[in-house]
């Protein structure tokens, strides 16, 4: 970074933007668009997403015969505006995925640090938990939890939070083990810093890029798990809506009203694709071990 030739102009963020591959640029634009939609859902949704109009059921989108400008993407089997429902669904699906990713990151990082710090028995125990989580398909465990407890929004978010924690724990444990014996960590410890300070102020910033990359890769996967469970009717419960919910409830109307299913399905696909591409690209940019290969 510091070895720039004399006279070279420092790269501005605009230069970085133009240096991005086209697919990454498009993905970024889509992700920003989705985030804006999620944040402004109340403002931009033309109708209340729960408002039913039983006389105006199954109206096609505007570009088809019989479509009207009042309902850009048509209406569903209860006469609700599909565009408004997609907008609110984007907000809920992104919100659940974000919360799930954050919970997983905090949980995994904490357990990873704990394993690296205490070693011995606690390390063994956490490693066994990691192996266990990695061995059993997550969706089966999630279904078991949702079967035994009454499904609620909070419980569902917590279940989503557990998804993928073991990957953070594995990464953080490995990095913390090698970092705590490195010069800077030893130096700070000799200066009298507490373990919490060493881990949070010194080691964590050094592994931030690895954690962020894993979060970007975990985020689209969480979207897919959430929408899958919601599709099965076991995730987000009505009256709330999610992109998976819309596909699940709309599948009975495939013959007459494909738009109820296809439009949210496209949003799921494009959004998770955009996040995956960004995550892969970020990893190549930030992960020093992959650079130069």
């Amino acid at each position: 970074m510091s070895e720039q030739p004399l006279g070279a102009k420092r790269k501005t963020w605009l230069d970085h933007l133009f240096a991005m591959p086209t697919t990454i640029l498009i993905s970024t634009i889509w992700v920003v668009f989705m985030v804006v939609v999620a944040l402004l859902a109340d403002v931009i949704a033309p109708y209340d997403f729960k408002y039913m109009d039983l006389l105006g059921r199954l109206k096609p989108p505007v570009w088809m015969a019989g479509g009207e400008w009042e309902h850009l993407f048509g209406t569903d089997h209860l006469g609700r505006d599909v565009l408004s429902r997609i907008i609110v669904s984007i907000r809920i699906s992104l919100f659940v995925a974000l919360l799930g990713t954050l919970i997983g990151a905090v949980l995994g990082t904490t357990l990873g640090f704990a394993a690296a710090h205490f070693r011995g028995r606690i390390d063994d125990l956490i490693m066994i938990l990691i192996d266990f989580q990695a061995a059993v398909p997550f969706i089966v465990l999630a279904l078991a939890v949702l079967a035994f407890f009454e499904n609620s929004f909070l419980l569902f978010v917590l279940v989503m939070g557990i998804y993928g924690w073991e990957r953070y724990a594995r990464i953080v444990r490995g990095l913390a083990l090698s970092a705590s014996s490195s010069g800077y960590a030893v130096a700070v410890r000799v200066l009298g810093a507490s373990p919490a300070r060493v881990y949070l102020r010194h080691i964590l910033p050094n592994m931030a890029s690895a954690i962020i990359v894993n979060m970007t890769l975990n985020f689209p996967e969480t979207i897919l798990v959430e929408t899958s469970l919601s599709f099965l009717g076991l995730g987000i419960q009505p009256p709330l809506t999610s992109l998976g919910n819309m596909v699940g409830f709309g599948r009975d109307y495939l013959l007459t009203a494909w738009w109820i299913v296809l439009l949210p399905a496209i949003v799921i696909f494009v959004t998770s694709l955009a996040f995956s591409l960004l995550g892969d690209w970020l990893r190549d940019q930030l992960d020093p071990t992959l650079r130069g290969n």
Binding site: I128, L129, D131, F132, A135, V136, P137, F138, I139, V140, L141, L143, A144, V145, L146, A147, F148, F149, P220, L224, T227, S228, F231, L232, G233, L234, G244, V247, G248, R251, L254, L255, W258, V261, L262, A265, I268, F269, S272, L273, S276, L277, D280
Partner: protein, 309 residues
């Protein structure tokens, strides 16, 4: 791989099974009175009492856990709501349908994914390579239920070529198998590509070329066998993904297998069946991972010597 390493692996596998049973036990206990959970509130008190006694719920917690474990190890998972039948029986009855689905999917996945990956590796950085890799990324982002719904829309609704639900004829298999294979073929394509790239530029390939082998011969005799070893390691992940995929896909196509049973049981809170499926899935995964470890040691002599690391 020596005996000590194998026994450590078996020990760890047993710990995973133990944790799984503990997991089911804990969520069952946390979610309320297990007797009421399993039998429902409307049942008469003597049945609740009999249930509590049978599962040892009137004894201390650790004894309860032991008897819980003991019953599981003897295949006693309790009774399903469905006609009060044995949960294990209800589950095993559905097993063949799911196994057929998975077996056919596996043939399809390997046949599609591995050749695509090998082809991409041999034509690295060409348009074909990029197209294959682009397709794999896209198919990762397509959840099973979306693939299934789109297939139903195209082949079931628009063209009316294939049946959309059930499992009676050969035609019923086509769409579920294609749905399950899309994501996993992508995994094998990516993995076999990177495994091939790893060996294609290794010194022994240069040696093989230097001693006069044609490129194609060198690839067949040296690169392919060496690259095929790491593919075994994906086995565990693959089985796990198959189970997850079957859970979703069976529900899209109303396929009467274990995945459909699991979701129905969760919806109706038929907990005996749910816990039976969870334990069986866990056992399957543990055994698969163990077999993968053993097979890897057997296939790759380099891991056999030394401390087995």
């Amino acid at each position: 791989m020596n005996l000590a390493v194998i026994s450590i692996k078996i020990f760890r596998a047993m710990i995973t099974v133990f944790l799984l049973v503990l997991f089911v036990f804990v969520i069952l206990r946390l979610s309320g009175d297990p007797a009421v959970q399993m039998l429902g509130l409307e049942v008469d008190p003597s049945a609740l009492e009999a249930f509590r006694h049978r599962w040892g719920l009137d004894r201390p917690v650790w004894q309860q856990f032991l008897s819980f474990f003991w019953n599981f190890m003897h295949g006693d998972f309790g009774q399903s709501f469905i006609g009060g039948r044995d949960a294990l029986g209800v589950v095993l009855e559905r097993l063949p349908k799911t196994l057929w689905l998975m077996g056919l999917t596996t043939i399809f996945t390997f046949g599609l994914g591995i050749p695509a990956g090998i082809y991409a590796s041999l034509h690295r950085n060409t348009i074909a390579d990029r197209a294959i890799m682009g397709l794999t990324v896209a198919s990762f982002s397509l959840p099973n239920f979306v693939v299934g719904i789109i297939l139903i829309m195209v082949f079931g609704v628009v063209f009316r070529l294939l049946p959309t639900s059930g499992s009676e004829t050969v035609w019923h298999y086509i769409m579920p198998v294609v749905t399950m294979a899309t994501a996993d073929a992508a995994i094998f394509a990516r993995f076999s590509r990177s495994a091939m790239l790893e060996v294609l530029y290794s010194p022994y390939m240069r040696t093989a070329r230097a001693k006069g082998l044609m490129w194609g011969q060198a690839v067949r005799r040296h690169a392919l066998p060496n690259a095929s070893i790491p593919i075994v390691t994906v086995g565990g992940i693959y089985v796990g993904r198959q189970i997850a995929a079957a859970t979703i896909t069976e529900n899209v196509f109303a396929w009467p297998g274990i995945g459909k049973l699991l979701v129905t049981s969760v919806q109706t809170r038929d907990l005996a069946v749910v816990q039976c499926i969870v334990i069986l899935v866990g056992l399957t995964m543990v055994v698969t991972n163990l077999l993968v470890d053993l097979a890897y040691g057997w296939l790759d002599p380099r891991t056999r010597t030394g401390d087995g690391k």
